[in-house]
């Protein structure tokens, strides 16, 4: 076919489908169960909390996979898919029983593996650090009015009065200005959790997005190591004794 006779629209679709990321996504076992064609009806979008607040659309996610354009997929993996709240409303309402939620989850895993997630997740550094070192994902001090628009306007109002409200609640509370965890997990529990992260390879995966966090966690573990390992031995011995 000569250059002039090419149809720019169909050519664009044909030439870009079937790229590397597309193939990786289609290999995931969840996709077949999650996409049965799409009516473009918008039921998913109408019910989607992420679509209400961000430039994001579960319908677009389904259409994007159907079309399979590699550039668009890459763009989504770097950005839009991270807006989904994983609430599954889309799945339970879709007349085709599609699940943008599952497609997004599969894409997120691939994005992490393929090194596409770092920028989108940069804003979550503090959350990841807190999970890995304290076992909580949010601490009251992390709530800033602009970070979570989906929590609604009341959050902005509340956070502006944060200090006064705390003072009212806890008069003379030590460390008034630092509330760095939502609840306290024991050191031992945190150490166990960190070991699970480490031994399962999850910590390494986290490292692909937040490399410096691996060092922080390892330092944290080293500090407690002697004491905690001793406790582990103690527990093991107790368990053995109880078996006899």
């Amino acid at each position: 076919m000569s250059e002039e006779n090419k149809n720019p629209i169909t050519d664009a679709i044909e030439s870009t489908k079937g790229g590397h990321f597309y193939k990786e996504i289609m290999k995931d076992f969840r996709i077949k169960e999650s996409l049965h064609g799409c009516l473009n009806c918008g039921t998913c979008v109408a019910n989607c909390p992420a679509a209400a607040f961000y430039d994001y659309s579960p319908r677009e996610v389904c259409q994007m996979i159907i079309e399979g354009d590699e550039e668009t997929i890459e763009e989504y993996m770097k950005g839009k898919i991270w807006n989904c709240a994983q609430c599954y409303s889309c799945k339970y309402r879709c007349p085709k029983e599609n699940s943008a939620a599952d497609i997004v989850m599969a894409m997120r895993e691939i994005a992490v593996r393929e090194g596409l997630a770092a920028e989108a997740l940069a804003g979550y550094t503090r959350i990841a650090k807190l999970v890995l070192t304290r076992g909580n994902q949010l601490a009251p001090d992390m709530l800033s009015p602009d970070a979570f628009p989906d929590w609604g306007p009341r959050m902005i109002e509340l956070s502006s009065k944060k200090m006064e409200m705390r003072e009212e609640l806890f008069e003379g509370f030590p460390g008034m200005n630092v509330v760095d965890r939502a609840w306290a997990a024991e050191d031992y529990t945190i150490y166990e959790m960190q070991k699970i992260w480490e031994e399962s390879g999850a910590l390494e995966k986290v490292g692909t997005v937040f490399p410096f966090l691996v060092d922080i966690v390892q330092d944290d573990m080293d500090d407690k190591k002697d004491e905690m390992e001793a406790r582990i031995q103690e527990k093991k011995a107790k368990l053995e004794a109880s078996k006899k």
């Binding site: 009516l39 918008g42 039921t43 979008v45 109408a46 677009e60 309402r93 007349p95 029983e97």
Partner: protein, 349 residues
């Protein structure tokens, strides 16, 4: 001359009965309700799509043709409870409040029709919870001068005339969540017709139709759709109605405006659900008594959809009309006549 048993006195069964009687056959027409005319009579359909012709102009002559023909014996409020034998020698037990009788028939026609899909199971639409969410069948009855509201469109909650009305298409159809992936084949034209009727009666009202595709494939349907937009300023929004809530005593709907790519919320006074067609209980009962095949959705399966559309899976038992799947009245009348010809042919052999 053999007698033919026709089960179901809707437009299809009526047409089949009168055609057979005209050919000289005796007919026993068994109808479970105490009136003839099927869903058209039950919900007092007022005007028919696409011509906005009075339903009575169509259904009354069909009923009259049956009632005035001495070859037809009508059993109202009756059921066929048992059938034995094979073509062309069937025995059927007909039961009603007066008792039970057994009679012999040469052939059986099943014209048991459909039931309106019950939207209660689509909980997100609030039907049954919010009084002003109504079905298209209920609106048919309201618009009829002989209906419950004497032809006025009224909100069930307070009897007021709604100003903003939204119509949801495809309720209980094209929906795997409720097990009905098929298209109801009349919802689009019926909603367009109802929107026009409402605008004619209440020119100040605003009518919005939330749709996925407007399937206007019938005679004059596309033209009706054009008229709705051009002459009546009915607003068609491409997006399926997704959810209904009550905010400050007002209905609020959610959908996506899929052409603009944005989720919307819309406050309205009344929501009409274009509930589709489901296989009726009467059809499922009849299939059981006769032992004929149904498809995945409960409708009756023809022996061959292309080659023997009016034959059931059993010789001597014939099927026609909306018990085979969604069908409009025009096609039901064609089916009624076609099945009569098929029965006559089978009895000659």
């Amino acid at each position: 001359m053999k007698t033919v048993l026709v089960i179901g006195g809707g437009v299809t069964g009526l047409k089949a009965s009168s055609e057979l009687a005209e050919m000289g056959y005796n007919v026993a027409l068994v109808e479970k309700e105490d009136y003839l005319g099927g869903q058209v009579a039950k919900h007092k359909y007022y005007k028919l799509a696409p011509d906005l012709r009075l339903a009575g102009e169509v259904i009354d002559p069909v009923i009259k043709a049956v009632e005035s023909n001495s070859n037809i014996k009508v059993y109202k409020h009756s059921h066929v409870v048992a059938v034995s034998g094979n073509a062309p020698e069937f025995k059927a037990k007909i039961k009603n409040s007066k008792g039970e009788s057994e009679e012999s028939f040469g052939a059986i026609v099943v014209a048991t029709g459909f039931d309106h899909f019950d939207p209660t199971v689509k909980q997100e639409y609030g039907y049954g919870r919010f009084k002003d969410v109504v079905t298209n069948a209920e609106v048919e009855e309201m618009l009829n001068p002989n209906g419950s509201t004497k032809g006025q469109l009224k909100r069930p909650s307070d009897g007021k005339t709604p100003k903003k009305i939204a119509i949801f298409q495809c309720v209980g159809s094209r929906d795997r969540q409720v097990g009905n992936p098929y298209c109801c084949r009349v919802g689009c034209v019926v909603s367009t017709k109802q929107a026009i009727e409402i605008k004619e009666k209440y020119p100040d009202s605003e009518v919005y139709v939330y749709y996925m595709d407007m399937r206007m494939f019938g005679r004059g349907w596309e033209e009706l759709y054009g008229k709705a937009m051009e002459d009546y300023e009915i607003i068609f929004t491409r997006g399926r109605g997704a959810e209904v809530t009550l905010k400050n005593q007002q209905l609020s709907l959610r959908a996506e405006e899929t052409i603009m790519d944005r989720p919307i919320q819309h406050s309205v006074d009344m929501i009409i659900l274009a509930a589709g067609m489901a296989a009726g209980e009467g059809t499922i009962d009849a299939a059981k008594v006769l032992g004929i095949k149904q498809n995945d959705y409960g409708f009756l399966s023809p022996k061959d959809d292309f080659l023997s559309p009016n034959e059931s899976s059993k010789p001597g038992i014939f099927i026609a009309g909306a018990d085979k799947g969604p069908m409009d009245i025009e096609n039901c009348i064609v089916e009624g006549a076609a099945v009569a010809a098929k029965v006559a042919g089978s009895l000659k052999n």
